[in-house]
Amino acid sequence: MADLAGVNGQREHFRVVGKPNLPGILSYSLATGIAKFGIDYVVPNMLEARFLRSPYANARVVSVDTTRARAIPGVVDIVTWEDEDIKKLGQSPFGGKSRPYLDNIADYEGAEVGVIVIAENEDICEEALRQLDVEWEILPHVVDILEGRKPDAPVIRPPEFNEIPPGMFDPRPDPNHPKKGNVSFAITIDGDIEEGFAEADQVIEYELKLPAFASHIPNPPGSVAWWFDDPYYGGGKSLHIEGAVQRRESVGSMYGLPPEKTVQVGLFQGGKYCDWGMRKSQEITPLLAKRAGRPVRCVNSREETFDFLMKERYMYLKVGFKNNGLITAIDDFSISDGGSQGSSSFGTANDQGYGPYYTFRCKNIRQTMEIVDSNRGKMYLSGQHCPFNWDAGTMAIYLIAEKLGKDPIDIAKVNLHGPDSQDDPRPVPSFEACLEEGKKLMDWKWHPAGTKRLPDGRMHGASFRYQICPRHAFSGYDVKLELRNGEVHLPTQGPCTGIYAVEANAMVVAEELGLEYEDIKVDFDYREKFTPVGGGSDGTTASAWATKECANILKQKILEAVIEEANNPPPPSMFSFGMPQEPSPFKGLKPEDLDMADGKVIVKADPSKGVPLKQATRKNIFATYSGRPPAAIWSLGMGKMLDTMNTAYCEVAVDTETGEVEILRFVVVADPGKVMRLTSLESQIDQVMYFSQGCQLMEEYVYDERTGVKLTNNMIDYKKPTMLDVPPVERKFLETRAGNAAYGASGISHSLANTHMVIIAIHNAIGVWVDPPATPDKILKALGKA
């Protein structure tokens, strides 16, 4: 078991942790609509603001005449990129080149550019935008990255953008391979690729297209902000902003404010799915409110909220392997959408060296990526839903199995290395266990492609994939717990993103203090530091580790206080009216003689001697802990260790007459290390499988090549699965306790995200490849029937 460094990491009996069906602390607010998200806030005397958004994929505002717009009744103010206050916004105090917060360059259709209007209401804003006299310089665009990478393609990015130092998630410039035209390069070489291919008995070459898909945050982002006189802190007005959840301090700092002068009460962030980037509508309202002297609201429309969660990538692979299926060399060349300026490269260039390959015993790997600047759109900050090109490895295993006439599961077993190193021949224990359960659940009987017809005439296909549990649970957390008036409080900033992180932490506190989940009072307060969010279940399990440590510090302090009061009882209160005080059953004992169980402080040697926690001490006690779980594999480096694994399976039926694909079921057998909160774990698995279904069968960005305009940025044309579309997801969880977080737990959901498991099952059914989304027309075309 992991979690060796923490208190009670090896706990054997659980009363609270892992329990299902405990309602979320915020669930009643959410279910009844009381919960307010950024877009929901409407405040008295509020103005509305709208950005000018580019109707062109690549363009520059040469000039803008605002005269007609300003003359419209109800227009309060118009900001242009040339105004001094907005020029200063967001500038680094350390200097250096950075893109202005608002400039006159639009590098994708819908980009905020040049102008912001402020008016009495949304309709007047829209009219004012229509009345702007904008002179546009329309520039050549790239929305097809295969065209954009060609030497004769127009160079779309202004030269000054190339001088901006890369951000944390931007592609790193490769000094040995300078940028050419629209193309930057990222190249990683391990081992000797030529030698690897020389060792191979056979070679396969294949290509796959990873689809772009939308982050599709359910609540369109936005904010409302105002300034107020604040008697608590001097130095001018303080800022109140709603909608910039969890980024209160960073938004405040844009306006030169210390943290204490920025207020944000709301904590509902909505679904993030790792799209953590802030939109301009969430940052600009303080500036506009300052100019207008009134509260200002600015929100994105749904159409303006179709940013990427994953960007498009074309992959071309050459894989050498021995006749037993052992891979000896991987040559991976890919062409990746770089998106517009400032797009994150998470999931693409930033992930080179990660991914499936480091689970392989093969050490000869070359990854070459071309990152093509485009005008397709933007991916904010994260975008790692289907991370690390895992599906390229999944396809390699499938294709080798096809070529050798073997079961892909057996090919995976040959290639996986053991827990200690790439030379470790022992299987990863939980991989073997997951496979055993998965095969049982699936009634797994492998068949070659295009060979199994179902009784109803449709073709049957199945697929399998594995992935390690991700270990980015390396973030540190600052936790505070309080015993206040006999009740235990867990103060937290939140936020609520839907991962039930606070609840899992409350369960850990209850477990460690011998209390029930309902006994833990969670105090949401924007001023608190503890934010148990850092990437879905990974953040939850890591923050729960820090919470466990804090709970044990609190417990120790409580027991010390109980003994101190038992041995030196406080004087009777004036309201005891001379009644004799009951002597404490703990008199003469030491803290180590006591424990906490069933809501009481008890004597270890005689648990019948106990006092309810509320009566055990009159003291208010505070405990803090600041730290992170130890030994996270992701902070130790890649390719050297494996511990817990997950497996997923898919079964489809394909109608070769209509091209319709039905996913008969998903099966997931996963090892989360330790189940913390069963109900939300199950739900996370469902989510990730439905995301995978959507991107492989339905979701698609369609561009007009001539204008570069995105045609599907609405919920009618960009299809998401509905309740009638989703198949059953059968799940089974193993608990090896091998993770690095609380009680050996680890993160789970990213690991099961995929772009090709359904696609491979379709190939297994019909014997031909179809790029995602595998819509019926594409299936029929692939079958030569359309």
Binding site: N21, L26, S27, Y28, S29, L30, A31, T32, G33, I34, A35, F37, D40, V42, N45, P73, G74, E120, D123, I124, I217, P218, N219, P220, F228, D229, D230, S238, H240, V263, V265, G266, L267, F268, Q269, G271, K272, S301, C496, G498, V522, D523, F524, D525, Y526, S680, S683, D686, Q687, V688, M689, M715, I716, K720, P721, T722, L724, V726, P728, V729
Partner: protein, 221 residues
């Protein structure tokens, strides 16, 4: 004001507290308007007639907003709206009812669902002026009614929400279904809720919750 600005967030609610808050939200809606704010310039008037005069004088090129009476959650409420305003916008901007959520704006996702005269209706594509004389039930009305406690409880017990943005729309649709069919099958639930999109993918949780709650509601809670 400063104390209000720096108040703690009060959203960790029990069902009973949520019920009380929902009832308060309905009670807080004024039955009769006492001030009439010009949507075009923000000036406030004490009567609708004065607002009309103001429009004639100051904004003759604009359409004058209307006062209408909407029957919402059992209560008549006078509202000042512009003719093109949707019911969703009216609920959010005029009545401070935030349960009907704006997600798609095109009638494609169900997050803004309300019940009008017994039918689940998408308030983002329904004009407010069309709703005069009709009975409108929002999530606040359902949450305030103890009859529906088993449904809300089951939603919370089964995590039939992750981020929770679309959840009120699902609950309203579920209530509309149970009004007509107190004992629905799993397939009937899936069919009824197929117009509600949950990006977080909580779909199987809704059927579980509704199947659990339905007999309790039928038995009177």
């Amino acid at each position: 004001m400063a104390n209000e600005e720096r108040s703690r967030t009060d959203v960790a609610l029990s069902h009973e507290a949520a019920q009380v808050k929902s009832a308060e939200a309905i009670r807080a809606i004024p039955s009769v308007l006492t001030e009439f704010r010009c949507p075009t310039c923000g000036k406030v008037f004490g009567s609708y007639a004065n607002l009309q005069y103001h429009y004639a004088d100051e904004h003759p090129e604009f359409v004058v907003p209307e006062t209408i009476v909407l029957h919402i959650n059992g209560k008549d409420c006078e509202v000042l709206v512009e003719p093109h305003w949707t019911l969703q916008r009216t609920l959010q901007f005029r009545l401070d009812l935030t349960g009907a959520k704006h997600m798609c704006g095109k009638g494609a996702c169900g997050s803004c669902t309300v019940i009008i005269d017994g039918r689940a209706v998408l308030s983002c594509i329904t004009l407010a002026v069309e709703c005069v004389g009709k009975s409108i039930t929002t999530i606040e009305g359902i949450a305030a009614n103890p009859k529906w406690k088993p449904l809300v409880d089951a939603y919370c017990k089964w995590d039939a929400m992750q981020c929770g943005y679309c959840t009120p729309g699902f609950l309203v649709t579920a209530k509309a279904l149970l009004d007509k069919n107190p004992d629905p099958s799993e397939d009937e639930i899936r069919e009824a809720l197929s117009g509600n999109i949950c990006i977080c993918g909580t779909y199987p949780r809704h059927t579980t919750a509704i199947l659990e709650a339905a007999p309790q509601i039928a038995a009177g809670g």
